[in-house]
């Protein structure tokens, strides 16, 4: 048994009729890791989260949360969940929703009250804690759902697009909270469509497409591994023909953009040196030089498109 593993998934699959929504996926999330789960619409992210949180039953494979079988009472007891589309009870106040959750997790009332107050304060809901949830705005509801997931102080947290459709402030508040929870050692499984969010927050991300995991790595490594997407933008004080630039070693393709050239390469570091050598040996002066690295979004598009071609 491995104490460093928070979430272990092996061959997990789910069919909806003929559709294989999740196709024998396997991965491991370490304890204390902030793990991103990315993929296009319909890729199987929510279905995976639902199997891991025990709401939907897997057809094949297995999963465990802190070594408890996913979906078991023990696994659920150590897990907090923000489902993709979930509502608090509209006819109860925010506070009563929170205390209801605490009771369902068996949290002693005094502990629950203390946590409830500090969570609601942190999420800016405290002044409205006794208002019925049906009077809350969308952002307030989402922050309440997050408080409800945290009132049991879970070791592992699943969030399915927690910031989608929220304004910048609400999204920022949630992201800051996730970072501080992660700093306290909580394991976080985060589904998102926001590449910047994933890039800023996640230690590692998995990219899922059509039920298959197509990549798992640190965001930075995924970006770097996106071959052919690196480029160097350069401009000189004199005209240089594109053919000449294309002959510089390491250049795969050249594109003229106004008074600049974009040179595509597998190795931007070496190309910069070659460019410097070329310009000094030909009496040219470099006016500007920029290395462009692919964004996580480029990596995402490249990975999910490649899959589409195969299909």
């Amino acid at each position: 048994m491995n104490n460093d593993v928070a979430i272990q998934v092996a061959n997990l699959s789910k069919y909806y009729g003929q559709l294989l929504a999740v196709d024998h996926i396997s991965f491991t999330v370490g304890r204390g890791e902030l793990f991103g789960f990315l993929g296009p619409n319909g890729a199987g992210k929510t279905t995976t989260v639902r199997m891991l949180t025990g709401v939907v039953i897997a057809d094949e494979g297995s999963a465990s949360i802190l070594e408890y079988k996913a979906g078991s009472l023990k696994a659920k007891q150590v897990t907090g969940v923000v489902p993709e589309m979930a509502n608090a009870y509209a006819d109860l106040s925010g506070w009563d929703n929170l205390m209801l959750m605490a009771e369902l997790y068996g949290i002693p009332a005094s502990v629950a009250r203390e946590r409830g107050i500090s969570l609601m304060q942190e999420m800016g809901l405290y002044p409205r804690k006794h208002s019925l949830v049906k009077t809350y705005s969308k952002g307030m509801k989402q922050r309440l759902i997050l408080c409800m997931a945290l009132v049991s102080d879970p070791e592992v947290l699943f969030l399915d697009e927690p910031t989608s459709g929220l304004d910048v402030q609400s999204a920022r508040l949630i992201k800051d909270l996730l970072q501080s929870l992660n700093a306290k050692g909580k394991t976080i499984f985060l589904t998102t469509h926001d590449m910047d969010e994933a890039n800023q927050l996640c230690d590692r991300v998995a990219i899922i497409d059509k039920g298959n995991i197509v990549a798992i790595d640190a965001p930075e490594k995924l970006r770097m591994a996106t071959s052919g997407m690196h480029s160097v933008e350069v401009s000189f004080d004199n005209m240089v023909s594109p053919e000449v630039l294309a002959n510089i070693p390491g250049v795969n393709a050249v594109k003229k953009l106004g008074d600049k050239y974009r040179l595509y390469t597998a190795n931007p570091g070496e190309l910069v040196v070659s460019l410097a050598n070329y310009s000094s040996s030909h009496g040219l002066k470099v006016i500007s030089l920029n290395i462009l690295v692919p964004s996580l979004e480029d990596a995402f598009v490249a990975l999910t498109e490649k899959e589409t071609e195969h299909a």
Partner: protein, 251 residues
């Protein structure tokens, strides 16, 4: 954790769910008023002008009120929660599906029991006497549990439209009140009518209520109680087992 401690913990969580149901679904003015008025009017529409004695009317009225109130909200709680998108959050809590259903049953049991006090108190005002209060009380409690357990049986089909479930429930509930010796006592029914009556759990409760209030029933009290117990177990087993299968399909 040993199994008994686990069961006790889940029972406590069922109570939490029952309290939630009562707060959200049952303690609304219209629900309570409709819960009392509807069976009363239905009852009156079939008994008025028939010069029936209070002793005859109250057991029937009580049976009808108890049956309708204990099965009024419980069938639609699960589809309602699925539709309102609160069910997924509830299912991801450390509670079993049985715990959720038992919670819904307990809420409906408490509601049925509470509302059934109305016809009982009305009867006492009108001068009825209860021959054996203990048996009567046991019968009311058992029947409330039996009918409350029937509610979630209606909501087994995994549709998230409360109206569909309500329709299924009504299709069963209305015929039941006509075959249960409420308007016509069992003694006066032909043999085939009695045979039909025995498939309704309400028959056995009405029979005990007549025994307690009118002083005579059609069947021995022990048979009535055992039949109620058997129906309760049947409904519980069916509801708990089948919701396990269908509840995940609502998400």
């Amino acid at each position: 954790m040993p199994e008994t401690a686990l069961v006790r913990e889940q029972m406590r969580r069922s109570l939490v769910i029952a309290r939630k149901d009562i707060r959200i679904y049952y303690s609304k003015g219209p629900v309570i008023i409709f819960g009392v008025l509807f069976p009363v009017f239905l009852f009156l529409s079939f008994t008025i002008g028939r010069h029936l004695s209070v002793d005859f009317m109250i057991p029937g009225l009580l049976g009808m009120v108890l049956f309708f109130t204990a099965t009024s909200i419980s069938p639609i709680v699960v589809p309602w929660e699925a539709q309102a998108k609160t069910l997924e959050r509830l299912m991801s809590c450390p509670v079993r599906i049985e715990t959720i259903i038992v919670g819904d049953i307990l809420a409906s049991f408490a509601f049925g029991l509470g509302i059934s006090l109305v016809p009982i108190i009305l009867g006492l005002f009108l001068g009825i006497t209860v021959a054996s209060p203990l048996i009567f009380a046991i019968a009311v409690i058992l029947a409330a549990l039996c009918f409350a357990s029937l509610g979630p049986v209606f909501s087994i089909p995994p549709t998230n439209l409360p109206a569909t479930i309500n329709m299924i429930a009504s299709v069963v509930k209305f015929p039941v009140v006509f075959i249960s010796g409420i308007f016509i006592p069992l003694d006066e029914l032909p043999a085939w009518g009695q045979a039909v009556a025995y498939i309704s759990p309400l028959t056995y409760f009405t029979d005990i209520a007549r025994y307690s209030i009118q002083g005579r029933g059609h069947l021995p009290v022990a048979v009535d109680l055992l039949a109620l117990l058997a129906f309760t177990s049947l409904f519980l087993v069916v509801a708990l087992k089948l919701h396990q299968k269908t509840m995940p399909r609502r998400i």
